[in-house]
Amino acid sequence: MRAVLSWLCDFADFYSLADGEAQGYYDVLAATLADAMNARGLVVEGIEKSGMGLDRVVVAKVVEIHPIKGADRIRRIMVDAGAGELEQIVCGAFNFSEGDHVPLARVGTVLPGDFAIGLRKMKGVESHGMLCSARELALGTDYDGLLLLDKETDPGAPLAEAINVVPDIVFDLAIEANRPDANCHLGVARELAVHFGLPFSIPALADLSGVKSSDLDPGAVRTEGCDALLLARFGDVSMAVVPDYVPRRLGLAGMRSISAAVDASNYVMLEFGQPTHPYDLAALPAAYVGVREAGVGEELTTLDGKRRALSVPKGGAPAVDMVIVDSNDRAIGLAGVMGGESSEIGADTRSVLLEVAHFSAQMIAKTSKRLGLRSEASARFERGVDPEIAEPALARYSQLLGVLPEAIASYRRTSAPAVVRLRLARLESLLGASLPIEKLVGDLELMGFSWHRAEEGVLEFVIPSNRPDVRIEADLVEEFARHYGYANIERRQLLVPKVGHLTHAQRMRRAISEFSAARGFQEAWSATLLAPGEQEAYGDDAAKITVSNPMAAEESVLRRSLVPGMLRSLGANLRRGEARVDLFELGKVFSIPAAGADFPDETERAAWLSYRGDGGPEHAYGLLADLFDRFGLDLSSGFELVRSAEIGPGDLAQAGYLGLHPGNSLVLVAGSRVAGALGMLHPQALAHVGGEAATGQAGYLELDLAATLFVEPELKRAVSVSPYPRAEFDLSFAVDSETLAAHLEKRVGEALAGLEARVQLIDEYLGASGRSLTYRVTVAASDRTLGEAELRVIRERAIAAAVKPGGAILRG
């Protein structure tokens, strides 16, 4: 809310907090108050000074208005500002005509917000100052056009004198949702008065004791959602005038002045937090309104001109909206949210019926949410309006209008105030501080709390009606802490009786990232929410989890694979002209919950993508092998690599691995589960994101981390290496295109079990005579030098393993 200093000072003399004679009085005062507001949880988001620094702003009469050639947003204005000759100003506002009086900030003026006015030239036309809006002068929030002045004002007169500008300060406050009491001037002033120990009182209200009062007709309120309804009938208010400070303060608080009856209503809301609603009595069949629940589908046109269907059940659940009805039971307003078009106050309104009501916070919240309709009133009712403030609000309304109501009718359903016990020992042990209890209890009294000692060390508080946030002991603890001052609670060292540590998976995440970065990969963070069809484009037909209320369609489907995000990132880089892109990412993927489960299958994956415009990208299989080596895992035990064609592209997509080249990719299987996939990306997938720019090739590896790298390797005993010389021989095999080099390598390796053996593919030959793979085998025994005869046997064993049925053929 926007809190106006002069308004706050109606309740307590905050002006006295700084030395009125001193230089920079208002700055000191503003800072003092802002510190107090912040310390009490009324967060100051901005401070604006009003009615100050206007020394060089004068009244100017618009004499001529000329268009400027080649400019349709600005015009050349000739004004009389008392200089004896006309002055030329360039102006972008259009809300005035010749003869109007407007404010002119002369060259040299520094307007609020450190906005210096200099001699400017626009479209070749010199401007000797600026014509100003209310906001530019910090006299209000209106910036739709120039501030139009009374035509009685004298051209050339200082503005401050001509319109009796009052210096004031506006605090832009963020009030927490649980403090509706502080969302009005009364509440802010009370909080500050307690803080500074200043006497606090509500300025005199109209005395309504002589007004004819009656109980409201039983049956007027036909819903549990309304527990107070106060109706006041005012005779002729068409001549009523509100005091000068009302439109001025409303302007500073961010509301436009409309008419006395409406201004008074708004003023009361900003002062006491009580929304009221004035009806044009002439538009009502009788000086009477009631409240009831709207029938299912009942329609109403609200003030904003929209026709709305009410109490429409949503998702099968019943919905209840409350309407204000006239004496014919016709809906004329949406209770607590917005009035109806039919009974709106207008220029011709003479008599007014004022509705001051208290509605159920929850019902207003539901209605407001259901209809997507929020207003100042609904926002206040949602948070909780003080049920006891209705009568003072009516009295203030009458006082502002200077008109007493002709009759008042009221309905009230009272409820007992909340009572909360506070154990003083608990209070101090939760805060970890010893507190000046007596002083703080006194502060709570000033806030409207009353109390008595229930037993030794236990106080029982009766909670004031404006404090829905205080319902349990912990709430009172906060209230005490607030009054004591959070800053005064001494910091204490936390002595943790445990040893901090990371889990294996957490350490691995870091290690994988560091390893990948060292290998030249940049860590990426790509979107979790994808566009519909995005994963389907890479062959994924599985059902997906979707967002029911997306912001945008392209962010509405949960990813089942990291591929789409990685490809998006690749595409963006390719479009920027990169020819070499190495990215990795660690992130979660999501699949529809298994039958019977509520939660989706949420899996952490890591992915690596390497693209080269020309030349070969980082080799995915090499990366996989290196990762396994680095982290002590064994690809040849518990894991199996198969061509993706073998498990079928549909099944691979089902497992959430997408976008791979069907004839040049492998699936890593752990047990019966797909634990990863690798190989080259599908050329079409590259084209999909890179278009013309995707001329190269991309290698890709994606792993289910829990099934692979997060597996804690078993502790191995240290082995001693053979001191005997190693023997080396090469083997070339003719193989078909389906044979996996890794399989052949594994078979040869297994045949040499018991020896210290290394089998490395040193050449792949693809030619007219077919495909051949050449391995270099290095062997040593741990306890002897291998002799020629023994080596021959070893070699035969290796060959036999390779040429097993369906295997390779030894080449010459």
Partner: protein, 350 residues
């Protein structure tokens, strides 16, 4: 062959050697020379073999003459070697000299970097682990019970507004969400771990917000939770202060001011000295000298009740703040969207 003949043979060999030796230009030449003249099959050895054909009384003298020649040649070769070896070394160096900075682009693998958010997260984790905390995790898809209900955010509470949460088409309507904060992990930790608890919970969260310079749809928070006997608001303030000084340095301090969160009571917002102006007031801090960092407070009794912790015996505090926001502050990132664009020029520049 008599001695005379022998002498003349030897001097002709020596002559030849001298002639050849003058032309030696490399270690290789020298080796050739050695092999030709003084190896087992060399010219001198050949002469030696003929010794058998000589009368026995001449042999000692002949042997002496031959050996003397061999020794002379060997000594000569040995003397010539160092200079030639040095020359060879120089030649090898000269042949392999080059400009180490002449690195062709493709030949360099390059080093990648960790994402700024990851780097920030690691730094935060390390600080709290150093204090004795563990790191806990939870799912990104949450039930409304964990994300709201258990955290004292009942239905129709403004904090639950569909404006902020992505609901999923899973199970009953509005029953599952992309978690809007890391706080549900608190609930899970209290349910699943033995007391006492000293844990932080970093992770990705989602808000239904249009991405702009200050927001991304997904972002990262870190949450802290302490539950033990005798935990006070003073401990919360002390922990926040320790963290602030450790992370931001000794110039930066923290302060707490009243705030509202449904899952803590008392609740506080924590602010730190503006890192730009160090508290003197600037545009970043709206001339207040302070910037808001996160929320915190004492765990609300209703939250304890939801997870079955006896709030009479135990008390606790929780805090949370944005990881991305800290990254933004540290690296002065003008537009948060760069964090998700994965532009390798950007990723590798910071």
């Amino acid at each position: 062959m008599d001695l005379e003949e022998l002498s003349s043979t030897l001097s002709s060999i020596e002559g030849e050697y001298r002639g050849r030796s003058a032309a030696v230009a490399s270690l290789h030449d020298l080796e050739t020379l050695r092999s030709e003249f003084v190896s087992k099959k060399g010219k001198v050895a050949l002469v030696y073999r003929q010794l058998g054909a000589m009368p026995a009384e001449m042999r000692p003298k002949a042997g002496e003459l031959i050996n003397a020649l061999r020794e002379r040649i060997e000594a000569d070769i040995a003397a010539a070697a160092p200079a030639l070896e040095e020359a060879a070394r120089q030649e090898r160096l000269a042949a392999t000299a080059g400009d180490p900075s002449a690195l062709v682009a493709g030949a360099r693998r390059g080093a990648g970097r960790l994402h700024l958010v990851t780097r920030t997260r690691i730094q935060l984790e390390d600080i709290f682990v150093g204090m004795g905390f563990t790191v806990e995790e939870g799912p990104e898809v949450e039930s409304e019970w964990y994300n709201f209900e258990a955290l004292n955010i009942p239905k129709y509470h403004p904090a639950r507004d569909g404006q902020d949460s992505f609901y999923l088409n899973l199970g009953e309507e509005d029953s599952m969400v992309l978690r809007t904060h890391t706080s549900p992990v608190q609930v899970r930790v209290m349910q699943n771990r033995e007391l006492p608890i000293y844990a932080i919970m970093p992770g990705r969260v989602f808000r239904r917000d249009t991405a702009d310079a200050r927001h991304t749809v997904g972002f990262h928070q870190i949450e802290g939770l302490v539950v033990d006997k005798g935990i006070t608001f003073g401990h919360l303030a002390g922990t926040i202060e320790n963290f602030t000084r450790e992370y931001f340095g000794p110039d930066i301090t923290s302060r707490l001011r009243p705030a509202y969160f449904p899952f803590t009571e008392p609740s506080a917002e924590f602010e730190i000295t503006c890192t730009i102006c160090k508290g003197s007031g600037c545009r970043t801090c709206s001339h207040t000298g302070w910037i808001e960092l996160g929320g915190c407070g004492m765990v609300h009794p209703n939250v304890f009740e939801a997870v079955g912790v006896d709030s009479e015996e135990y008390s606790g505090f929780a805090f949370g703040f944005g990881i991305d926001r800290l990254a933004q502050m540290r690296w002065e990132i003008p537009d948060m969207r760069v964090l998700t664009e994965n532009d390798i020029r950007y990723l590798s520049s910071v």
